[in-house]
Amino acid sequence: MAEKKYWMSYQQLENEKNPEFLKTASREFSEDPFLEALDETTASNRRDFLKFFGFSVGASAVMAACSTPVRYALPYVHKPVEAMPGIADYYASTFFDGMEYSSVLVKTREGRPIKIEGNPESPITRGGVGARGHAHVLSVYDSYRFQAPVARKGESTYEKIDAAVAESLKSGKEVAILTSTLPSPSTLALIGEFLKKYPGRHVQYDAVSSSAILESHGQTFSTDPFLPRFRFDKADLIVGVNADFLGTWISPVEFTKQYAQGRKFDETKKKLSRHLQFETNLTVTGANADLRVPMKPSQEGAVILKIYNEVAAALGKPQLAAANIELAGNSVALAARELLNAKGRAILVCGSNDPNVQLLVNGINLMIEAYGNTIDVERKSNLRQGLDKEFRALVADMAAGKIGTLFVLDANPAYNYPDPQAFVEAMKNVPVKVSFAESEDETSSLCDYVLPNHTALESWGDFEPYVGSYSLRQPSISPIFMTRPFQDALLKWLGDERDYYTYLRDYWKANVFGKNADFETAWKKAVHDGVYDKKLADALTEGKTWCDVFEADVVSDKLPKLKDVDLSAAASAVAAAYGESKGKIDLLLYQKVSIGSGNMAQNPWLQEMPDPITRACWDNYVTISKKLADEKGLKNEDLVTVKAGKFSVKLPVLIQPGQHAETIGIALGYGRTVAGRAAYGTGQNVYPAARFDGDNIHYFTSGVELSPTGETYELALFQINGTLMGRNLVKETTLANYDKDIKIHKEERAQLRQHLVTLFPDREYTGHHWAMVIDLNECTGCGACVISCQVENNVPVVGKTEVRRGRDMHWIRIDRYYSTDSTPDDPKDWNEDPGENPKVVFEPMLCQHCNNAPCENVCPVLATVHSSEGLNQQAYNRCFGTRYCANNCPYKVRRFNWLDYTYREDQDGLIHQAFKTEFKYNPAIDDLGRMVLNPDVTVRARGVMEKCSFCVQRLQAGKLKAKSEGRPLRDGEIQTACSQSCPAGAIKFGDINDPNSAVFKYFNNERAFMVIEEVKTLPNISYLMKVRNEPEMPKKA
């Protein structure tokens, strides 16, 4: 295998030979005392120690002598037949937050949702849910939500507000309904009816706009603007240009599922899809690409134009005006060549919001026959509907006083419009403004009335993500507060007696199911399945699920009649706009996988989720290349002022390998001013840095200025100071070298295993032997498993300060390793700086459940011991916190409860003030948030070690189910939270004592390796080597 150097951060790369650095790097836990750091006056001495000691002994004696509190058991009055305390119920529903769609199952216990899981019946997301979907379950328990209607003036009751709004509707002035993308057919029909009675308009507005793709498709196919359906599963070659389709672009969960299909490596067929990515910031998508080429955002158009010309030239078609573009080697030409080679099996996607660029993209996709093969134009997508022009017109009309009543649902332009001031001013000229926000945001605070909508988990709803493919949303908890569905309000003002649920049913009766269908049966099935698909209905035979027949969803090759669109105008515009920008610094506004557009910024799980690439959380920052940082004399965490036109912002710097040298990137979605408590004090809002050219919003600006302030700001980073100690923790190869490398790998492993010795006897397992296999080829690093695990296992949120101390609590982390063929001492290829464009490997790391576990041998109280099923068990109540185990764990996966993170707000007197500010984020600190806790998992106390349990609660529940039903356990029946949630299916779990199990085969796969196998920890987790399908690498010109 090719010798590669793996590294985690520049600090490590530069300091690895520095003994001082190594001394601190090997220390897992930060040693600085907590309270003293926050409050100098509490420094304690020996006498204090004695005092505290005496007090705690006394206190514990008193506490012990007190009688235990009386506990009550309240049964149901009328027990629903399906509800059984202690047993979870699942309801099929839909997650869509305007950014991301997935069909989900909501797990409820005793009538309260506690977890969101993927709906395996869905033919679109096929059981996948992203991190945001998982975290969304907390939204219903947000104590920051509106608990009743609000009138800024007058009485806050539904009757009064309804009457006031009805009065305004009758005024004769235009009504405007402003929503985020609304793919709900019944709601759209209802809005249509409403606007017939009260003339006005419905404007859909996306926080991060994709309007150029919609418009360009309208132009190319001479139709209304529309979004086609991208089918990455049909593509053997994928080229992405600043489109983070595995992270944030349009429908990341669905795309990850499709993408993983092509990345699943079959040892016999040895076939993989190939992925080339041109991008500015290093994204999850770029990290997974076989070839990633750093590019300035101001080169987007030029890259597309050059690909167009190359493809056109090869096909003998007329070329267009050329733009001057100089990118790494001949990578653009290479992309064009690859696209042509895979004609009919290739796809090109671009994240640009310039219609001219998108027109050229469509032109390329037409030439390489993507339409009808990898892009479906018949199954139009409804997942993005916002058109920048429409919203701009609305703002103008509002300002001109033409709008009499404004309804706002799920849209927050006062925060995320590039010119928020224009919107705020325009709002002042609208007499009656009604918000349907779930919780107070920047826009709702400008509204006269707030009629809070139900949260997704409390409401009915329908979705049509793709034409003809439906999914339903059903409530899984009765409304907690005095909220009301948006649609009920519309129906009321329409004078319709029905409620929305009845309206929804009536709509489906009339429009969704065929005329001949038995409605009740069909409806019940649709509610049960959560999905319904007109196109797949025929393929759905007895005993099959919608997901089983997803392959029947073939891409329609019937293309709409094409009008010859003259691309030369677009090409000249692009050539002019994306000209030479050498020397200028570009600012790219990107979205993070966790925070996205910022609409869920108040969710503490998402705030604390480390970014897959930068490993930072709780803030946004300026990602900058090493070269540029050196030029400007910047170090990590230096505060800089970024000036883009009139807008300027002060943020810390994070030196990011892979960042294009003349660019910086800042994440959107931070700096919310009116949002729940977790969103406060997190970063800065950079939406105003987006450029609005009158037609479209561009999420980059060229020629920004960067000036150091001399101050620093500490970021909350994971996995920053470590060192690999020279060990090879990941293994990878390429498709071309596969046969050669796998032979070496097998030999090396066989040899290694011969030489492993231990003093401890081998274990034998007679019953189950749980094991996990993680395929590094399929893992995209998206982080869905991290949040899924956090929700399932009641993992606390610790807050920014604690993360800075390295006291994060996640049981599973996704280690991100950079690798470079060249090293600083030995520069090879066109890489001079090892971090200029490194390759990336993601390696999910969790407790390896070693059969020869180093942690078990050192626990003085036997709090961590091995089970007869291969689990490394942790008994919280036996643990007294020596931390020997964590010290002895070579994988660093044990987490220590330094403090009581579940601190309750009502214990003011007893607890240090600092706790209040620090742990305010943890959902478990208030009574409402606590309802999300999994009742089957203990909430850990201070001073206790914890770690991945292989979801032992699920193992026990699954075994019990089989026992109760008197049958053997079925393979794959039990899934851990991480394996179940992985949208790419990279994590496989099962019983390796069953030779027929899937996991047994994966475990004994030729690509299998174990992390630090040489120390004979004998893990129960095996990894499968990553195989890259690299094209012939471009050479330096």
């Binding site: 009055v77 305390p85 008197g966």
Partner: protein, 398 residues
């Protein structure tokens, strides 16, 4: 002797109805009254004497005690006193005929005293007071015995001391004097041996007490909270023999046996409005909950700490345990109390000792086959839950 014969003669005709009286007593009175001990109501033996043998008054009182108190009859004042004495708990009205009440009274009068000398015949039961040993008297007797033993020990020590002094005096050829004896006894009592023994005994006792105290922390066997409704398992499970699972529907499916929802109560109490003891009062609470939709706030009797996961289905459905193995004879409990200790030691003990059925199929097929093979090979003697990993931490703690 004359009296005895007379009593026998009187008792003979009564005896037949007193037999019915016994059944009536058990069915209607026994949940609140005992013959010889206070329960919810007073001990009933001697009730005739307390009511001055005015049977008619007594019958009227039993029919409806509240009315009787108000009516200002011969013993109304006494009834008032009883009412105050028993925390103002009324005795519910009894839907029995006069003849039935008289039969019960006759039974009370004639019922044999629960002594060892029942053989003496019903006549012997007549006198008040008993010679039975209750816990208190056992304690006194044992304490007296212990005291005597201690006294004898002391005497023995003194005697031994005198004897040794005598021997010593004899050896020295001195005369045995009181002061010499005194000196020797003192010397003995102050000797390192005695001091050590005393310290050890005191320390041992204190240690033992502390050990027991600490182990009993947060263990509540015998815990018998007052429930919002005076629900009697003795009546429902004992007398009417309603199976446990009729109400506790979750016991074979879920971790929780579940407290029955009000609609389950109403399956029967839709029709049954009145109970034998409390009349409509307690059942009215159930109906109120049903009508208002407010759940009944039962007090949890069996509380496990949050760090323990216990699953009823595993024990009842899979392992086939009887409810009584952990909950005791609930069908005899008027108010449910915690029968088992519910300590970890108690759990583990059972997992160590309980032998499992090795003929189970389905899930257990291969696992049990290997255990049977081990047993046949003589590797293990007894296959208990422990052999299936029943003592591992993460079976109950996660």
């Amino acid at each position: 002797m004359r009296y005895l014969i007379a009593i026998f003669m009187l008792a003979a005709p009564v005896w037949a109805s007193a037999q019915d009286g016994e059944a009536l007593f058990k069915g209607n009175c026994a949940s609140c009254h005992k013959l010889d001990a206070k329960l919810t109501g007073p001990a009933l033996r001697g009730v005739h004497e307390r009511w001055d043998n005015k049977t008619e008054e007594l019958v009227a009182f039993i029919h409806n005690s509240q009315e009787y108190m108000k009516a200002g009859r011969a013993k109304s004042a006494y009834a008032q006193k009883l009412f105050q004495e028993y925390n103002q708990t009324i005795m519910p009205a009894q839907a029995l005929s006069d003849a039935e009440i008289k039969a019960v009274l006759d039974y009370i009068k004639a019922a044999p005293a629960p002594t060892a000398d029942v053989a003496a015949g019903p006549g012997a039961a007549a006198p008040q007071g008993t010679s039975s040993l209750d816990d208190r008297s056992v304690f006194y007797i044992l304490a007296t015995i212990a005291g005597l033993l201690l006294f004898f020990c002391l005497v023995l020590i003194v005697l031994i001391a005198i004897a040794t002094s005598a021997i010593k005096a004899h050896e020295r050829g001195e005369k045995l004097t009181w002061s010499f004896i005194n000196q020797n006894v003192k010397g003995f009592l102050k000797s390192p041996f005695v001091t050590t023994m005393v310290v050890l005994v005191v320390l041992g006792g204190a240690g033992n007490a502390a050990y027991k105290f600490l182990w009993s922390l947060n263990l509540h066997d015998g815990y018998k909270p007052v429930q919002p409704i005076a629900f009697s398992h003795a009546v429902h499970a004992g007398q009417y023999k309603i199976g446990c699972q009729y109400c506790h529907v979750g016991v074979e499916k879920s971790k929780n046996a579940t407290i029955p929802s009000t609609n389950i109560c109403m399956n029967c109490h839709n029709v049954i409005e009145e109970g034998p003891k409390y009349g409509k009062k307690e059942i009215a609470k159930v109906r109120e909950s049903y009508n208002t939709g407010k759940p009944i706030e039962w007090v949890k009797v069996h509380n496990l700490p949050d760090l323990v996961y216990f699953n009823h289905a595993q024990h009842v459905k899979v392992a086939g345990l009887e409810c009584a193995e952990c909950h005791g004879k609930v069908e005899e409990m008027e108010e449910v109390y915690q029968h088992a200790r519910l300590s970890m030691g108690w759990c583990v003990n059972c997992h160590r000792e309980k032998e499992i059925d090795l003929n189970k199929d389905g899930y257990y097929r291969s696992l049990h086959a290997s255990l049977r093979a081990d047993m046949a090979a003589g590797k293990v003697g007894k296959i208990t839950v422990e052999k299936l990993g029943g003592l591992e931490c993460a079976r109950c703690h996660y």
